[in-house]
Symmetry: C2
Subunit: 350 residues, 2 copies
């Protein structure tokens, strides 16, 4: 079965015995068109089941009302919320969203970016994959005059718009909170340090310890503990140290914090009394573990909106190339039970 020919503006023009350009003007709501002709065209278009061809229109106009998004994984709370936020705004602006996932693989990320370049999207919004690699593909985007916004996991060296969380400050506050609660040997679960976000979180941790005059102990810092399994593994090691920590800041994610909690529970170590825990991300489940897990909310949905708004406010019309801007969003420490030691009243502890 052959695909049926679609109605074009020429078909309408023919039927009404007017010029195609008039039809075009009527449909695009131009000011230079008689109200009556416009009404007639609209009516006829509806009757003829006319559907605007965006591809042709975009080709002619040379711009494509489409934004590409590349994330490591679509089905991860953090990212799906951000995408939802972005979509909320772009939908209102009549833009489309093309979504790709890199699966944390650099090669695939490059592929996705190339696809989006081929599509001539107006803007690419990206959070880079964990796998290390060069950043030529992002430079390509800039070279081709396509707008680029990095978020969360950004390449600092590249001079682009960026929307990030203030990871360092958030981590600082989390660790300061643990210290205030009376924890003294605070361990850190780290993510891959070639990603800035994890370095920043580590800096926050170090800063808080320094501020409170607590010594930094190498044995309490575990590299690459960024999944539930790896978090559990690291915790098992930490808890069997001669002098185990009395708190663990799982700076990588709530999943690793969950790993911590499970190991502690299995070993009969009471949380928060003997071990304080703080995660990162405010995954829905942190609220319902027992005890509930203290964590950091990254305001993901609004982060997505911020990203999209950045494009529409500063980049959509680029008379002069807008000066790249870094927007920092302040995450929020959500204090729950896993970090609230039953404080010994002052008069007793003195």
């Amino acid at each position: 079965m052959k695909r049926q020919k679609r109605t074009t503006i020429y078909d309408i023009a023919l039927k009404l015995n007017i010029a195609a350009s008039s039809v075009s003007r009527a449909l695009s709501n131009s000011s230079k068109i008689n109200a009556d002709t416009k009404a007639l065209v609209l009516k006829t278009a509806a009757e003829m089941n006319y559907q605007h061809n965006v591809m042709a229109s975009n080709l002619r106009k040379g711009n494509n009302q489409t934004i590409g998004v590349v994330v490591p994984r679509i089905n991860q709370n953090f990212f799906s919320n951000i995408i939802a936020g972005i979509e909320e705004i772009t939908y209102d602006k009549g833009y489309n969203l093309i979504i790709c996932q890199s699966n944390e693989l650099h090669a695939r990320e490059v592929d996705c970016v190339n696809t989006l370049i081929n599509q001539h999207v107006s803007c690419i919004i990206i959070s880079i994959a964990a796998e290390t690699g060069s950043y030529d593909h992002l430079q390509q985007v800039l070279d081709r005059q396509i707008q680029l916004i990095q978020f969360d996991r950004v390449v600092e060296a590249l001079d682009t718009f960026k929307v990030i969380n203030d990871n360092e400050q958030a981590s600082f506050e989390a660790v300061a909170h643990l210290i205030t609660q009376g924890y003294k040997r605070i361990a850190l679960l780290e993510g891959p340090l070639h990603l800035d976000i994890f370095r920043q979180r580590k800096d926050g941790y170090l800063g808080a310890l320094a501020k409170h005059g607590i010594p930094v102990l190498a044995e309490l810092m575990c590299e690459n503990a960024w999944t539930k399994a790896l978090g559990a593994e690291a915790t098992a090691k930490l808890l069997s140290l001669p002098e185990p920590p009395d708190a663990i800041f799982a700076s990588t994610s709530d999943f690793s914090a969950l790993g911590v909690l499970e190991v502690a529970t299995a070993k009969g170590i009471s949380v928060p009394d003997s071990l304080g825990i703080c995660g990162y991300s405010n995954e829905p489940f942190t609220e319902i573990t027992s005890p509930s897990i203290t964590t950091i909310d990254q305001h993901t949905m609004s982060m997505g909106k911020t990203i999209a708004n950045l494009y529409f406010q500063e980049m959509e019309v680029q008379e002069t190339p807008a000066e790249p801007k870094i927007v920092s969003i302040m995450p929020e420490l959500i204090i729950r039970k896993s970090s609230q030691k039953k404080l010994i009243p002052k008069y007793l502890s003195d």
Copy 2:
């Protein structure tokens, strides 16, 4: 700053002093081209930083390697997993994915579908919004010869490809399991019954009761209890009945099951001993509540892959319009602690 002109096949043709059509053939890997010219073109294209213009190509070819997806919410585990699954396949096939969310609103869903029609996507994959409404917009899709796949929440009356879970069978098994565990008064939390999936789940519930000769009691069936809050509310009512239920099947979602659990815990009712609970969806958190929640896994990721494969295997090339097909995926009952009553040994209970 003006947007710099992009390199086109004409630029390449000019430089090499050959025809544009030859360049096109070389780039599209045609067979009717000399290997040497082809190599030369490819080399020159790379040097000139040529980038294929998909918009122009699609316009000319009249087909668009793009698939549109419309879901109620992107940031919902079930949907984001399905999208991830779809993307996995479409990526391999070189297709793009345009994603929209209806926010459960009918008007917005219609809007999304129209946008996708305007984009002339090859296929629309949709799970309809909860809000009731007409289905003209879906009929439109069919009328315009655009492939349509419905999944999960489908309009049965429309003769399209469908990928669904066997909700009835899954619910049947869940309730049968509760009965086997010794629960005798099993309540049902229902979703909006104009959505087939919720009707099917109810049918499964009724079927299991019938099979085991358990009377159906209207007072144990709660309509519209499909969020955590509504589930909690319904549970409070159920538990204050003169003869309260001894198990609750939250057929709507794990969130409502969580509502059940929280109310029960607050009232000091022991789960699973005095109250059995079964949810639906296998949200990550069901594993870590205490007690963990028995639920139904819908194999979402593979469901997404099934959907995409359906398109590529049966619909991409449509010599004759393919006969719509319904693919049913069998969900899996995940038995956890919330439904495992400590059975009283036979010799004591007799």
